[in-house]
Amino acid sequence: MKRILLVCGSGICTSTAVNQKVTKALEDRGLKGQFQITQGKASEVAEKSKQFDLVISTTVLGGECHCPLVIGTAFLLGRGTEPIVDQIVEILQK
């Protein structure tokens, strides 16, 4: 089980919207049941990212990220998501 930390400024609003899109995109790629998404705040990344395989953020991070990081704003725009999904899949399959 791969662990994804999904963050935005507040940890609620934007990351929730992106959560649905990322979940669907990864399930479409046949990864259902192989990942777990946790939502959080950008300010928590420095502290929490060590426990995750990947951070997806829709905002700038205040501190250091201790695992691979992907900017997920494309999921809100609904375009340019394929390369991002490719990148996420590649990280998760490592």
């Binding site: 935005c8 609003c13 929730t16 829709t58 704003t73 809100l76 725009l77």
Partner: protein
């Protein structure tokens, strides 16, 4: 106007059709003060949303139009609502997640969020609506706040 995705107030009184602003901070202040005057947010919202934009920018470069969705913490909010502001000329915001990338924004959708858990579907749905071809342009082309509020509010009804 209630809608299918929780109680989010959308109304003509929260729509400004002709905002004159040179910067994102000016544009945000105008719409945020309007929300305060209508009793939707506390006075503290105005500075809070401006400050938050500096740290977590909210410009989004949709295919047919750049927009911004400024928002801030629920402690500053009295009533859940979304205000819409049409900018009379493009205003440069920084892109969400990529602050080095400027976005020429034509509209602002300012969210006053009181109960974040009820927003779960709202923002995702709004993003889907904004991706619909012709939608944002159609919204901007509305002649009156009444027309815009009706069109926007109806988009959330299943």
């Amino acid at each position: 106007m209630a809608n299918a995705l929780g109680e989010v107030y959308i109304a003509p009184e929260l729509i400004l059709m002709d905002i004159e602003a040179a910067t994102d901070q000016e544009a945000i202040e105008i719409l945020a003060k309007h929300l305060y005057e209508k009793g939707i947010v506390k006075e503290s919202y105005v500075e809070a949303v401006k400050e938050r934009e500096k740290v977590f920018s909210t410009g989004l470069n949709f295919e047919e139009m750049g927009i911004a969705i400024p928002h801030t913490d629920s402690v500053h909010v009295n009533k859940q609502a979304i205000a819409v502001g049409i900018l009379n000329k493009d205003v440069k915001f920084c892109h969400m997640g990529m602050p080095e990338e400027p976005v020429a924004c034509e509209m602002m959708f300012m969210m006053a969020i009181e109960k974040p858990e009820s927003q779960v579907d709202f923002l995702g749905k709004m993003m889907d609506i904004f991706q619909t071809e012709g939608y944002l342009k159609g919204l901007k082309a509305c002649k009156t706040p009444e027309e815009l509020a009706e069109k926007f509010g109806n988009s959330f009804k299943e």
